[in-house]
Assembly symmetry: C2
DNA sequence: TTTCGATATGTCAATCTTTGCATAACGAAA
DNA sequence: TTTCGTTATGCAAAGATTGACATATCGAAA
């Protein structure tokens, strides 16, 4: 498991980020927010979704609210009260949005991998 | 030039960002930094390159220095002194890096456009 | 040997974010 | 009708980022 005796080559990584925005450009619906939507789908409450990605409830609530403002339609059916305290679920529009985003995400992941390989090979050329 | 009488559809835009990082994940070589490299190639000084993209010299210098740390090799041949004050030029490695990045950038721009169209059409389906 | 403008860096204020804390409203079920 | 945990929000403290300012160094050309 020794390293081969070739010159130390600095490792460089290609990173990317995608997000949605509205006309104003203020605020964004990013991967974190979609992570919350995923969590709500799984766990049934915004609180649990926030805990799941180690985000404060305060911030999570703000992220979802901002996303709804940007998109112009509700993402969650929110219910408060009851012995269990309340719960949230994704609206049909949110489900569709999440699915479209996940497809996008996957396309990017694949694309980035290929682009990265191409990039590195170009750097090593001649 | 009146708007057609269909229901207001919220406009949503897809944004993306790509950047390079090292093992530590701290710091990044981003589009701004490549913009500086481009400017140096064109204008011959870091200062002019910074002015060109309305960035302070202080920040520009920091960005290039950070990039060199991340990559592990020099990007600029820097010269100070002389009646003209000094100048900078791209190292061969920086030229190759810049070209590889520009190709990457272009690939992404094209891809993103297609991905965006696909995304929107998915949202409008059913 | 003086000059001039670019390179090189520290620092501290201003600003923008994030986080934590507090407090209220809610309502189904026990 | 009491209870319990989630939704809902304001606000101040703490952090992180940015930007502006200041100041020093350098050396070819005049």
């Amino acid at each position: 498991m020794d390293k081969p005796p070739r010159p130390t080559k600095t490792e460089v990584f290609l990173n990317y980020k995608i997000w949605l925005s509205g006309l104003t450009g203020h605020g964004q619906v990013n991967a974190e927010t979609f992570g919350l939507l995923e969590g709500i789908k799984r766990f049934g409450t915004l609180k649990a979704a926030a805990d799941n990605i180690a985000m404060s409830y305060r911030k999570a609530w703000g992220a979802v609210t901002e996303a709804e403002e940007i998109l112009g339609y509700p993402l969650l059916d929110k219910h408060r009260g009851g012995k269990d305290g309340g719960n949230s679920s994704l609206t049909p529009a949110a489900i569709k949005l999440l699915e479209a985003y996940q497809a996008l995400q996957q396309q990017f992941d694949e694309r980035v991998e290929a682009a990265y390989a191409d990039f590195i090979s170009k750097l090593n050329k001649t």
